[in-house]
C-alpha cells in the first residue's frame, strides 16, 4: 500500500479558480520525492492537502490508508505527516529550543518521560543537541529551520513534507537542512516529500514530480526529467547548474554524457575527458 495517495484531487481557495486540477499521485514508503513547479503552480497547496490543513473539493487524499477529509482521522494524519514550512521564524512557538520541540509531543498527550525521549531523539537527528537551552532568535536561519524540523520529528511522523523550507536560507543553511533531511530518509526511513524550486535539491530525489498550472505535468527519476530540457523550459523551470553547463558544453561539441546532474558528476566527466585527450 502506498503511504500517500492522492486520487483525482481538485482544490480551489475561492471556489472559482482551481489551484489543483485532477491531481493523482502515489508515494511509496521510504521514498524521497521532489515536487517542483514555478510560483503559483499549486505545489504548496499540495503540502497543505497532505496533512489535512485543507481538504480536497473533489477527490481524496489517503495517508497510510486514512482519508484526510474525515475529521476523526485528521489528528492521526497530522501526527503521521510532519510539515516544515518556509519561514522558520513563524513556526517556532516557544522562546527556548527544548520548549519548542516539546510542543508537538505535548499536544499528543504523551508522558513526561516519553516527551523527554522524543526531544533527545529529535534534537540529535538534526544535530542540535547542544542547543537545548538556546533561544531561537540567536540562531542562524539554517539552525532555526533545523529546530523546526526537530519540532516536527518529535511527533515521529512517517512522512516529512518540506514546503519550500530552504527558500529563505542562505546556501550554508540550505546545505545544513538538506543534509539532515537526506540522513533522515536514509537512516531513519522517513518518507520525504520536498517541495522546492531549487533544482539542486531535486537531483538526489528518487523521483521528481513536476507540477504546472495545478496539474502533474511530468513524473520520473531526476535523469528522466532533466533530459527533457525543452518541456521543462516551457513550464518555467531551469536545469540544475551542472546540467546546464554540461548542456552548453555539448552544444559546443564537447563529448559529455546527457545524464549529468550534480557538480560531482560534471567534474568526473570533465576529468575523464582530460585523461582521454
Amino acid at each position: 500500500m502506498p503511504i500517500l495517495k492522492a486520487e483525482n484531487v481538485s482544490f480551489s481557495y475561492d471556489k472559482k479558480t482551481e489551484v489543483l486540477k485532477d491531481v493523482s499521485l502515489e508515494v511509496k514508503r521510504g521514498e524521497y520525492i521532489a515536487i517542483i513547479g514555478h510560483n503559483g503552480s499549486g505545489k504548496s497547496t499540495l503540502a497543505r492537502l497532505f496533512n489535512a490543513l485543507i481538504v480536497p473539493d473533489f477527490g481524496k487524499v489517503y495517508i497510510d490508508g486514512l482519508d484526510t477529509s474525515i475529521k476523526d482521522n485528521q489528528f492521526k494524519i497530522r501526527e503521521n505527516v510532519g510539515v516544515v514550512f518556509q519561514n522558520p521564524d513563524n513556526q517556532l512557538v516557544a522562546s527556548i529550543v527544548v520548549d519548542d520541540v516539546a510542543f508537538g509531543p505535548e499536544n499528543l498527550g504523551l508522558s513526561r518521560e516519553e516527551i523527554g525521549n522524543r526531544i533527545d531523539f529529535a534534537l540529535k537527528a538534526v544535530g542540535m543537541e547542544s542547543f537545548r537551552k538556546a533561544s531561537p532568535e540567536r540562531l542562524s536561519g539554517g539552525q532555526k529551520q533545523r529546530i523546526a524540523i526537530a519540532g516536527v520529528l518529535a511527533l515521529k511522523p512517517q512522512i516529512l513534507v518540506l514546503d519550500e523550507s530552504t527558500s529563505m536560507l542562505d546556501p550554508e543553511g540550505r546545505r545544513e537542512v538538506l543534509n539532515v533531511v537526506k540522513k533522515l530518509n536514509k537512516e531513519n526511513g522517513v518518507t520525504v516529500i520536498a517541495i522546492t524550486h531549487y533544482m539542486e535539491e531535486v537531483v538526489d530525489a528518487d523521483r521528481v514530480i513536476v507540477v504546472n498550472d495545478g496539474e502533474v505535468a511530468m513524473s520520473g527519476t531526476p535523469e528522466e526529467i532533466f533530459k527533457q530540457k525543452q518541456t521543462l523550459k516551457s513550464y518555467g523551470l531551469e536545469l540544475p547548474l551542472a546540467s546546464y553547463i554540461a548542456e552548453k558544453l555539448r552544444e559546443k561539441g564537447v563529448d559529455i554524457p546527457q545524464t549529468i546532474l550534480t557538480e560531482k558528476q560534471l567534474s568526473e566527466a570533465l576529468c575523464k575527458l582530460k585523461q582521454k585527450s
Partner: protein, 270 residues
C-alpha cells in the same frame, strides 16, 4: 532596539535564580503588600522592606547598580508625585511663615517616594532573576485553580508565551521597516511630536499586516504539529518546590510579621 526587549533578565545560577518562579511571584506580591502595610510615617517599616530587598539582591548575586538602574524608567513619575505632594498638600502646619509647603506635605512626599521606590526595586528583582518564560509558566501554574470557573488558563498562558517569543522577531521587523522607509525618504527625526507620530504610520501599517501574516502561518504550523487546544495535552516542564523556596517563603513571611510589628508594637515615628 534590542535593549527594550522585555524584562531585563540577568542570567546567573544564584539561590534566587533557582527558586520556583511561582514562589518568587507570590513573594513579590507579598512584599508589595508589606510595603503598603507600612503605616504613614512609620519609616522603620520601610527600612525592614529595604533590608529585605538588599538581602535578596545580595543572595541573587546581582550588582546593586543593575537593580537601581530599573528606577531610571520611572524617575519622572516619582519626582512628579513628590512635587504634587509637596506643593498641593493643604494639611499640616506650614514649615515657615507664609510658606505653602507644610510639614505633612513634606512627610507625605518622602513617604510616597520611598513607597514607589521600594515597590519598583522589589518588582525589578523578580524580572532580573526570572526569565520571561519562567514568569509565564509561573503565572499559568498559579492561575490553574481558575480553570474551575472556566477561565481558559492554558490558552492565556500560550498567548503569553507566544507574545514573548515574538517580541524580538517583531522588534527586528520594526527595525527593518524603519530602515526601508528611511531609504525611501521617510523622515522620523524632525518636526514636532505630532509630526513624528504621524511619520510612524508607514511603519505601523506594514508591521500590522506582516503580524497578521505571521499569525496565520504560525496557526498553520501549530495545527500541523497536532495542536488541538488544552484537552488531552500534557506538559513537559514541571515546576518543583525545593528547600530554597521554603526558605524564601519563611523569609517573606518574616518581612510581613516584621512590618506589622514595627507598625504597632514598636510604633515610633522617626
Amino acid at each position: 532596539m534590542r535593549e527594550v526587549s522585555f524584562g531585563q533578565y540577568y542570567p546567573s545560577h544564584s539561590f534566587v535564580h533557582k527558586m520556583d518562579a511561582r514562589v518568587k511571584i507570590l513573594a513579590v506580591i507579598a512584599y508589595i503588600v508589606a510595603v503598603f502595610l507600612v503605616k504613614p510615617f512609620y519609616f522603620l517599616g520601610f527600612s525592614a522592606c529595604l533590608a529585605f530587598v538588599i538581602i535578596a539582591t545580595a543572595v541573587a548575586k546581582i550588582p546593586f547598580l543593575k537593580v537601581l538602574k530599573s528606577m531610571k524608567a520611572i524617575i519622572f513619575f516619582i519626582v512628579l508625585s513628590a512635587v504634587l505632594q509637596l506643593f498641593f498638600n493643604s494639611q499640616g502646619t506650614p514649615l515657615w511663615e507664609n510658606g505653602f509647603i507644610t510639614d505633612a506635605g513634606l512627610y507625605n512626599a518622602i513617604f510616597i517616594v520611598l513607597r514607589i521606590t521600594l515597590i519598583v526595586l522589589g518588582a525589578s528583582l523578580l524580572t532580573l532573576t526570572t526569565s520571561p518564560v519562567e514568569i509565564a509558566d509561573g503565572i499559568e501554574s498559579l492561575l490553574y485553580p481558575l480553570k474551575f470557573i472556566k477561565f481558559p488558563v492554558h490558552e492565556f498562558a500560550l498567548i503569553m508565551s507566544i507574545a514573548l517569543r515574538f517580541i524580538p522577531t517583531l522588534l527586528d521587523e520594526t527595525d527593518r521597516i524603519i530602515k526601508a522607509q528611511k531609504a525611501r525618504g521617510a523622515d522620523f527625526e524632525s518636526g514636532n511630536i505630532f509630526k513624528r507620530a504621524k511619520a510612524l504610520i508607514p511603519v505601523l501599517i506594514p508591521l500590522l499586516i506582516s503580524s497578521f501574516r505571521r499569525a496565520d502561518e504560525l496557526a498553520d504550523a501549530m495545527d500541523a504539529r497536532c495542536y488541538s487546544g488544552s484537552k488531552n495535552r500534557t506538559k513537559y516542564k514541571k515546576m518543583k518546590f525545593s528547600y530554597r523556596d521554603l526558605i524564601g517563603v519563611i523569609f517573606t513571611a518574616g518581612l510581613i510579621v516584621g512590618v506589622v510589628m514595627l507598625n504597632g508594637v514598636l510604633g515610633v515615628v522617626v
